[in-house]
């Protein structure tokens, strides 16, 4: 029972800690995962996010003269650790960056109570775009449904009706993340008359997909769309190479476009495409600044600053930083509150001019968020593996809003109904 007394003491310590997170500057914690099964894909993104904030602090003294206290809380992609991190950081945080669909699902219903905005760029729940219902959640610049629609637009050559009678396999992780595109793809399959075959990959089978690829070989699909993450992508690309599936018919979501996964197959992966709302620009002015202020001072752990994922990390932190800046200018304060940041994220205006000012031209398509559009629906580019790196292979693609918007509204309504009482921002409608 000694341990009980220790617990009591420890709880007392915990009490002090709970409120004593460093309170200098604007506290923007990141629920990072540099350990665990998804570390390989997580680390470059986390590096990008961290380096961008480090650059702002070193070059401009933060945002609007206020330093950014960017801190990581390690989750290892585990929901349990994520919740622990959320509870640990929420007292001072202006934002939550949950970084896993599981953690997002848990934190999302609490947002109305805790009043801290969630920033989940390019992931999370697609209906979060409906800002009237999900007042505190943001997933700029594109949602999974946008991604699925853009992929269909590209593989059909701009006319999804031409997919009629074709067979498309969705190879997806059997997990909330992997199931995200299914409602949209099913609706589109009905509308355009293509045949959608779902091939789930269980979390335990991620590294051994021979059964799934056997099924794909049997089905002889015209296209395989992959909704994968972590070890699943590398294994799928390997299997595709092994079974000689034509790479130009194999398209992944943006999280399935990790350089390291394709480097291991090299030339054999040529033609593999991945939709992306970000694009690496090694010659962008910001990269020179990063070199001067961050890399050369030895403050970065980044291994490959030209990779897709690292530069996507930069874009993600840029969106947060712009949200903070917008809020600061509107409310005319330095140290903003979570409520003010919510306004800032809701009124983001990432225009071409602004991107040029930031030295990030071409790293992300321009977009705007608003009260009823928390995603921005920027569109994206198709990136193609040329054997050594990802290169742009399409012009800016746009998602088919006429399909996505009604689905978003319906799903958001259902969510609100299931979670009564759920406040809805009536000013938005």
């Amino acid at each position: 029972m000694k341990t009980w007394q220790e617990l009591a003491m420890a709880t007392a310590v915990g009490l002090v800690l709970g409120g004593a997170a460093l309170a200098e500057g604007i506290y923007t914690p990141n629920l990072a995962y540099r350990t665990g099964p998804f570390a390989a894909t997580g680390t470059p993104i986390m590096d990008g996010q961290k380096d961008y904030m480090a650059l702002l602090n070193a070059r401009d003294g933060g945002i609007g003269g206020v330093a950014i206290n960017f801190e990581e809380c390690e989750t290892g992609y585990s929901t349990e650790k994520g919740v622990e991190c959320y509870e640990r950081t929420k007292a001072d945080a202006v934002v939550t960056q949950p970084w896993s669909t599981g953690i997002t699902l848990q934190v999302l219903p609490k947002t109305n109570v805790d009043k801290i905005p969630i920033l989940a760029p390019g992931y999370g729940f697609s209906p979060m775009s409906d800002g009237a219902v999900f007042q505190w959640a943001f997933n700029p610049p594109a949602s999974y449904w946008d991604g699925a629609s853009m992929i269909l637009n590209e593989i059909s050559g701009g006319d999804p009706a031409s997919l009629k009678g074709k067979k498309i396999v969705l190879l997806h992780l059997d997990h909330p993340f992997g199931k995200e595109p299914i409602p949209l793809l099913e609706t589109m399959a009905k509308e355009y008359g293509f045949d959608l075959v779902l091939v789930p990959v269980g979390l335990k089978e991620m590294q051994n997909q021979s059964a799934q690829w056997l099924q794909i070989r049997r089905e002889r699909p015209d296209f395989v769309i992959m909704w994968g993450w972590g070890a699943m992508n590398a294994a799928a690309i390997n299997e595709a190479v092994k079974t000689k599936y034509p790479m130009d018919q194999f398209v992944g979501v943006w999280w399935a476009g990790h350089d390291a996964d394709l480097k291991q197959v090299g030339e054999a992966g040529k033609g593999y495409r991945s939709i992306s709302w970000s694009m690496p620009q090694p010659d962008a002015p910001i990269m020179a600044d990063l070199k001067q202020y961050v890399y050369d001072k030895g403050n970065s752990t980044a291994e490959d600053p030209d990779s897709v994922f690292y530069q996507r990390g930069l874009v993600i932190s840029m969106m947060l930083a712009e949200g903070i800046r917008t809020a600061q200018q509107h409310f005319d304060v330095g140290e903003i509150t979570p409520e003010q940041l919510r306004w800032g994220l809701e009124n983001l205006d990432i225009s071409d001019e602004r991107l040029a000012e930031l030295g990030m031209t071409g790293m992300v398509p321009p977009f705007k968020t608003s009260c009823d559009n928390h995603t921005g629906h920027s569109g994206g580019w198709m990136l193609e593996w040329d054997g050594t790196r990802f290169v742009q292979s399409s012009d800016l693609l746009q998602a088919d809003a006429s399909f996505i918007r009604p689905l978003e509204v319906k799903a958001a309504e259902e969510y609100a109904a299931e979670n009564q009482p759920w406040p809805i921002n009536e000013d938005c409608k």
Binding site: M1, K2, T3, W4, L7, A8, A10, T11, A12, V13, G14, L15, V16, L17, G18, G19, A20, A21, L22, A32, R34, T35, E71, E72, C73, E74, G76, T79, E80, V83, E84, E87, R88, K90, A91, T101, G102, L105, Q106, P109, K110, N112, V113, F125, D174, H175, P176, K179, E180, I182, P183, G202, L203, K204, A411, E418, N419, Q420, P421
Partner: protein
Amino acid sequence: MLYRTAGQYKTTYRADQGLFPIKQDAFLLGLILVFAWVVFPFTATEFTFQTLLTPILIYSLAALGLNILTGYAGQLSLGTGAFMGVGAYACYKLVTLMPWMNPIIAILLSGVFSAGVGVAFGIPSLRIKGFYLAIATLAAQFFLVWLFEKWSWLYNDNASGAIQVPNLEIFGIYVSGPQAASVTQYYLVLAIVTLLTWVTINLTRGNLGRTWKATRDMDIAAELIGINLMRSKLTAFAISSYIVGVSGALFVFMWRGAAEPNLFDIPLSFRVLFIAIIGGLGSILGNYLGAILIVGLPVLLGTLPSALGIQVESALIEHLNTMIVGSLIIFFLIIEPHGLAQLWRLIREKLIIWPFPH
């Protein structure tokens, strides 16, 4: 000194067999209860509730359920996580199909479903033992998690395949869902855990408990002295799964707020098994000690560097944490293979005879 037994005379057999043969034990337990019921709720922060108090209680309860089966009745089970899942999904279906139902009743009822499933998967235990039975429960584990994934009725055809806890209230106070206050949920968990612990203590000390222990120690001998093995094993499966199921419902409804099927996969089963083993098989106290070590300690270690004002990379803390907790587990198992509960038993014995060791 602290544990001096001088002057505590027992004049009847009944008194000698009491739950607290030594007054100090009762006093200690009272102190713990005061802490749990009064001191913690009034002093703890949101963080302490969400990462220490509530999860430790829920994991202790799950380990308690497993301990009945493995520690008292000697039937090794690797399916605890899945049985917790049955409780959680049953509770979810109950409250969504019958929204008028009192959430506490729903939680207590959901254990009945997992008890049923537990008995069904416990039937092979009549024929197979030891590792072979462990494999049979492993089959339950895989099958049930697969079922949680594929049977979309269980999660009301939600597109993401996850269950999300609705806001539920009792007498106008929210007890689950995002609107519920942590302290309300803590009290509810504490009440259920206290109640079930009290029931378990009595069960294991009574006739049924002795039957289980006889089955565990030597089933042939037990059968020879007239114990019905089928009854003994199946009641152990039923009661164990009931408690595990309730803990699963609490796990999702009072703490996590949402759950996807793979949450109930093998890692959870192993975690609960480790708590039971490190705490001490065949003990009630051990479950709490084990949960504090396995669930609570990593959280405390994680807060240590920032409390001491040391700047360390968050990932490094995580690695150190794994290493420290891992070596502590090995350390405790080397100094006392029978678990933390046995360690406490020895300490207590030494305190009683102090300062004159044999």
